[in-house]
Amino acid sequence: MTITILNALIAVVGGVVGAVVLYWILNKLTELLPSKPQELIKPYVFILPAFAALGFYLVYPFFQTVIYSFANRNSTEWVGFDNYTALLGSPGFQTTLINTFLWILIVPTFAIIFGLIIATLADRLRPTGEKISKTLIFLPLAISAVGAVAIWRLVYNAVPANQSQTGVLNAVWTLFGGDPVNWWQISDGKLNSFLLMVILIWTQAGFAMVLLSAAIKGVPTDTLEAARIDGAGEGKIFFSIVIPQIRATMLTVFITVLIGVLKTFDVVYVATNGNFGTNIIALNFYQALFVSRNAGQAAAIVVILMLVIVPFLIYQIRQFRAEEAAR
């Protein structure tokens, strides 16, 4: 134990001191140059370590992944587009793609809707009430996804009819004379996927609420007063005055939650492990790499995931630039 702590200390101190020394040496080296080229080179020298780290840990693995996606399961031989055709041709992966699209559309949308409703309503409470209600709504964000599923298992659980029901939903359902329903097994109309999305929305709504609440408070009160004087109702004010002014925040929240959703794996892994047609892309990747031990196919899934994310990233950056330009 003491050794572990000592190691951690050495790593922290060594890392910080090392970085300082490195920059100091780099600085000294550039100062040896005459002043004209020095000015020119210095920024690059300072950006180099960060750039190198990004290159080694992000850019290089990115290209390596793309390359592996064209190789076989042990990355020893080229197979061309086989991994992609096999994936896109399998009904399992098609379900995964459809589910993933549903997840990225529904979860961020509902997280924002709920976040917005809560933020607006909490805004009208007295300060203590607002603080308490917002803290409560924010709490689920602090729970890990695995913990959240464990909690929601107590809601969705199903037990044979002759035993007492441990799931809230079935306890209520059987109270009204129904037979226990295995909620997580019902794939009709993607019901089970939606039930799993509820879990993630539950954790993400708090995040959306915090940002949106700040944005709502930032709406200038004179615009609201002007609207009131002109005789606008509360609904009209909300949709025509408040929403347009917090549009940028809503977009940021949407994209942030969306990227989180694309990386979501734990909710489905713990709940159904992708059974009953609930698989999503990050879990599918895990299964390809760690269950099937097929590196080629796993890499291909990641590349597809990347292709799905990129348009959203570009859109967000564009939007961000437009905001900056408008300012």
Binding site: V59, Y60, F63, Q64, V66, I67, Y68, A71, R73, N74, S75, T76, E77, W78, N157, A158, V159, P160, A161, N162, Q163, P180, N182, W184, Q185, S187, Y269, V270, T272, N273, G274, N275, F276, G277, Q287, F290, V291, S292, R293, N294
Partner: protein, 439 residues
């Protein structure tokens, strides 16, 4: 230069990406020779590192059992238990920091490290292996060479029943598979579901169903066909396997045969599925599962405290009364780095002395047929161990030997889909066949 058109920038980016791709394109791994795993640090200082996949009390018992020997011998042992064994071991091996000894729960995973493992020919005395249940020794072989040593045994073809009510109702243990079907129908006619069944096991949901298919295939078609099926010499959806699935369908999935009905199976946890068996009156009478459900976390505590008076067992019967095939599994110890100390520890694990205290704590069944049965804490365990020691053939759990995408992927998944009713039997078996990796 500074002001570029959008197309210009896009072309530039594409060119850069293409260039990097071409430059790194030669970077596929060299096949085969990853070598060097014997060069890891553990080999020099005499410390033996052991990695394994069981945790909690099993881990403590295992440690105590090993320490008894190593403390006396003056060997330093480092234990590395991990609940996520399969993932961790593959990262460690590819990272060239494999443990000295790894205890694999699945021969399939063990076999994928053939190139990195040291054969046990010169490590473990053959006399030790000869004393073990034959089928499990074979599970540790690759192409006839011994790569893994069976450390413990579990027996999966056991049917548990609630002793009192079962005997009061006049039911008797069936001698043949046909008798089992008759018994199933008799119990059903009495108005109670004959079977308890549940295959939910979090992210491993589905595996208890694979044991059923394996068990029935073994009973109906024999160990040769079973092993051909496991090694994919016959297709996964061979007519003989279809026959096994049909029998399973008849025994379990017929309306009224399972407590809670077919829909409850996929959400009913395997460890607790048998608990309604101990209600008064029982909600079901039979549960086919491994010996491990009669331990902590399985049967209710009240049952565990009077195991011998409340629980009865019979082995899954063969086609004839003389036929006693047994499906089982076990933990297999393999060596990555061979040293003198590793050799000592391996031979100790192979000896009849290993596991005495662990067995007394109701956590261990020895693969050695000459293990002193008085170490088992109750009659039930003695009986169950006896099934394995007296078996006419013992085969290792098939899904644990198949490639990962089948054995812990499609086989689990498709069984779950079939049982929950979202696929029919033929589609499920055909899908598993289609998922078998090409090479």
């Amino acid at each position: 230069m500074r002001i570029k058109s959008r197309q210009g920038r896009a072309i530039g980016a594409l060119l850069t990406a293409g260039l990097v791709t071409v430059l790194t394109a030669g970077c596929l791994q060299q096949s085969g020779d990853n070598g060097g795993s014997s060069a890891s640090g553990g080999a020099d200082d005499g410390t033996v590192t052991i990695m394994y996949g069981f945790t909690d009390s099993s881990s403590d018992q295992f440690k105590a059992e090993i320490k008894k020997f190593t403390d006396a011998e003056g060997i330093n042992v480092k234990f590395e238990p991990t609940p996520d064994f399969n993932t961790v071991i593959s990262t460690r091996v590819s990272g060239n920091s494999a443990p000295d000894i790894a205890i694999f729960p699945q021969p399939g995973i063990m076999k994928s490290f053939k190139d990195q493992l040291t054969p046990l020919t010169d490590i473990v005395d053959k006399s030790n292996l000869d004393k073990m249940v034959p089928g499990i020794v074979q599970a540790g072989q690759i192409d006839g060479q011994q790569y893994a040593l069976p450390m413990s045994l579990n027996i999966k073809s056991i049917v548990f029943y609630p002793k009192g009510p079962f005997e009061q109702a006049g039911y008797t243990a069936p001698a043949t598979l046909a008798d089992l079907e008759t018994l199933t129908n008799t119990i059903k006619a009495s108005g109670t579901a004959p079977w308890c069944f549940g295959i939910e096991s979090a992210s491993a949901t589905g595996w208890p169903a694979t044991d059923w298919i394996e068990n029935l295939l073994l009973i109906q078609s024999g160990p040769e066909v079973y092993n051909q099926w496991v090694s994919h010499e016959i297709p996964f959806n061979d007519p003989k396997v279809v026959a096994a699935a049909d029998t399973m369908n008849k025994l379990l999935l017929t309306e009224g045969n399972v407590n809670g009905g077919r829909q409850s199976i996929a959400s009913n946890n395997f460890a607790t599925a048998a608990n309604p068996m101990f209600n008064t009156p029982p909600a079901c009478y039979m549960y086919r599962q491994g010996n491990f459900v009669a331990r902590d976390g399985g049967f209710p505590d009240t049952v565990l405290s009077n195991l011998d008076s409340t629980v009865g067992v019979f082995p899954m019967p063969g086609q004839t009364a003389a036929d006693k095939p047994v499906l089982g599994g076990g933990d297999l110890a393999s060596v990555f780095n061979n040293t003198e100390n590793v050799k000592k520890v391996m031979n100790y694990m192979a000896s009849a002395d290993f596991g005495k205290d662990w067995a007394k704590a109701n956590g261990f069944i020895s693969p050695r047929t000459d293990f002193d049965k008085s170490n088992y804490p109750n009659e039930l365990t003695k009986q169950m161990a006896g099934f394995a020691y007296d078996s006419t053939s013992f085969v290792f759990d098939g899904s644990d030997q198949m490639p990962g995408e089948v054995g812990s992927g499609s086989f689990w998944r498709e069984m779950t889909a079939w049982i929950s009713g979202s696929e029919d039997e033929k589609t499920a078996l055909d899908n598993i066949q289609a998922s078998w990796p090409a090479s």
